[in-house]
Amino acid sequence: MEILNAIVVFLNFVFIPAAAYGAQLALGALGVTLIYGILRFSNFAHGDTMAFGTAITILLTWGLQTIGISLGPLPTALLALPFAIALCAVALLATDRAVYRFYRRKKSDPIILVMASVGVMFVMNGVTRLLIGVDEIRFDDGARFVIDVRSFREWSGLSEGLALRSTQVITLVVAVLVVWALFWFLNKTRSGKAMRAYSDNEDLALLSGIDPERVVRLTWIIAAGLATIAGTMYGLDKAFKPFNYFQLLLPIFAAAIVGGLGSPVGAIAGGFIVAFSEVAVTYPWKRVAEYLGFDTGSAMLQLLSTEYKFAVSFVILIIVLLFRPTGLFRGKSV
């Protein structure tokens, strides 16, 4: 019984939250890594792109709610999501046309593109503030729990309860679908193969007749989709606050680098590594240990306070840079 309680506490406070967070980071890191693979720069505007896409989703959700459309037990935001992705993709394509294309044609240093992405970050941040303000917004509606604490206790007879929020399940299901679709696209379709070829060797891809502008446009559209989905899932699961999205930039970059920049599989693995480490290091393990029969006294068994969760991404980043700068899955190092 005690060991079952320990497992329930672990699932409830560590495994489920970390899995949902890991899926969100993985989706974000996939966007960063794709842009890196095709366009060859680290996109500092990605966090604000996520915030921008989510802001559009929220506005559309409110619009749908006022005309009385909902998805029943599912959050209305899921219905708004495809339209938000389309709008976000238009915004990114316009940004590429206005900003990045010039440097691409000129074959500027990657660091100049990074700088340009800082300018884009400023503008997107301002536009998001203009659209929706800086306050925290909750926009999840529909059923809140798949399993709630009380019914789980009654069903299992354990003293610990297990809560599984619907947003967590939705995050995981959506992430699996998106990743499956992305890999199918990259591996099976002509356009996806063109993208991979372009990422592997630009000159060779050009020689074989691949249109680089088309590859770049596809990349931005996919990146818009990934960013909007990641942002909306994060917002549904926690809450929407533009500044938090800017701060997500660090764990997302850490995830992409841990996996190897430019490697989609690596980005997913990296997202979960960062998320599980972050939650495991900042969770007080006292209750789990007590159920397992250890007397911890007054110690909370918390390695780091939650305010320092960014330090975890940073340390993982440093370890990878020290020992394996190309990442676990051998990304690019150019």
């Binding site: 680290s42 900003v99 100049i112 340009a116 503030r129 390695l303 960014f310 940073f314 840079l321």
Partner: protein, 446 residues
């Protein structure tokens, strides 16, 4: 990068003309009162003082970006750690704060750093098969000793006069001494990051500094024993006289009367002029030093490395070593500016450290001013700061003017309310436009 740097020679009067425009802007701010300017010398000088500090920050960043092409996205962290120095050096000691747990905290920090050093040593010395278990053992043991020492000391320090202090307190030394100390703090942090992230691909440094910036700010917000965290430290001593003392000084009141001003206004202006003198002196000194070093063999080597790393390396230059050097020096200058800023504010409030304002705005200053040119970076710093402050009042006025034909309603209210956010868009657009159409900035590198 090389293509944008060796462009056509620019007009020799560019820097003086921009300087003249800046002077004109500040004079207008001080003298004319209309929709655009406040007509108060107090406001004008307040903007100038922060502008001078921003210029020092821009100068430090320019050393990293302009001399060496290093992308530092953690400027806010180096400003924040520099700003810690005035608190630790010049604030009066807290009664019983040091006795409560000071030595123990110091010991804990030494154990923490020692653990890291020992880990590095173990890694290089231990036999190959034993490496991973050995460093894990060192890390785990070190961590437990550290936490055991640290946690008890922190509880004791924070319990000491918790409402008013609850921190270690400072040393009570002159505040000017804290400026070089702030520079040292920032240099130490920069050395740590640079050691790891330099020598790899260029955007790794950008991402690693983004991390260290956020961590330093998080430490300042949460470690209450150090500098009271979000409870803020107030009353940091000043290197210049206090307004209230001036107003009570009969000579000063007499002088104000002679000039036909009231003593409250003149005292404010006087204090701000003192600050402007101090900050201006630091800025000029730094620019002169930077210019001299750029003309020296060392400066030529730095530019050679920046323009072609491979060629410089082939000539036997230690590229990573030089990069680390310039990264540390630039961060030290940024830390110095952080210490100056906290001295000027008289208040250390870690919640103000927002990366958009303290990292990326400084970037806009450097790019707009002219990367690689010290005078350009400094002028850009003052100019962008002036515009950033004024945009706060100009933005709503502009929106008010544009929306005046609109009927009152939800859209108009929303636009008016969100007008202050316009300055982010304005700054981003400025950065993008300069980067695209004048990549060498207002005052290009010679």
């Amino acid at each position: 990068m090389a293509t944008t740097r060796q462009a056509e020679a620019s007009h020799p009067f560019r820097a003086p003309v921009i300087f003249a425009i800046l002077v004109l802007l500040f004079v207008l701010e001080g003298t004319t009162s209309n929709a655009l300017f406040t007509g108060s010398w107090n406001t004008s000088l307040a903007i100038l003082n922060m502008g001078l500090i921003s210029a020092v920050m821009a100068l430090g960043l320019n050393m990293q970006w302009g001399y060496a092409g290093l992308f530092n996205s953690g400027v806010v962290g180096f400003i924040a750690i520099g700003g810690l120095a005035p608190v630790l050096i010049s604030v009066a000691p807290v009664d019983g704060g040091w006795g409560a747990g000071g030595p123990r905290v110091m010991l804990a920090l030494i154990v923490g750093l020692g653990t890291l050093a020992l880990t590095a040593l173990t890694w290089s010395r231990a036999p190959r098969n034993w490496r991973v278990p050995a460093i894990l053992a060192v890390l785990i043991a070190g961590f437990f000793v550290y936490r055991w020492l640290f946690d008890h000391a922190v509880v004791a320090i924070e319990a000491n006069q918790a409402a008013q202090y609850g921190n270690l307190g400072g040393l009570g030394l002159p505040v000017l001494l804290s400026w070089p100390v702030g520079a040292l703090f920032a240099a130490a942090a920069a050395w740590g990051v640079g050691k790891v992230a330099l020598g790899l691909r260029s955007d790794y440094l950008a991402i690693a500094t983004l991390g260290i910036g956020e961590i330093i700010v998080a430490v300042l917000k949460n470690e209450e024993w150090l500098a009271r965290g979000v409870k803020n430290v107030t009353g940091i001593p000043r290197p210049v006289p206090y307004e209230i003392n001036l107003q009570q000084d009969p000579d000063f009141v007499q002088r104000a009367a002679n000039w036909g001003m009231n003593s409250a206004e003149l005292s404010g202006i006087w204090v701000k002029l003192c600050y402007a003198g101090l900050f201006g002196a630091v800025l000029i000194l730094l620019i002169v030093l930077a210019e001299l070093s750029l003309k020296s063999p060392w400066g030529r080597m730095m530019r050679a490395i920046r323009d072609n790393e491979t060629a410089a390396e082939a000539m036997g230059k230690d590229v990573t070593g030089r990069h680390l050097q310039i990264f540390v020096i630039g961060s030290a200058v940024i830390g110095l500016a952080g210490a100056m800023m906290i001295t000027h504010d008289g208040l250390m409030a870690p919640t103000q450290y927002n990366p958009l304002r303290y990292t990326f705005l400084i970037w806009v200053m450097v790019i707009v001013g002219g990367s690689g040119n010290n005078w350009g970076a400094a002028l850009g710093g003052v100019l962008i700061w002036f515009l950033w402050i004024k945009a706060e009042s100009w933005g709503p006025q502009l929106i008010g003017l544009l929306t005046s034909p609109l009927p009152a309603g939800a859209i108009k209210t929303h636009l008016l309310e969100s007008a202050p956010h316009m300055r982010f868009i304005a700054m981003g657009t400025t950065l993008l436009l300069v980067l695209r159409f004048a990549p060498r900035g207002l005052v290009p590198e010679k």
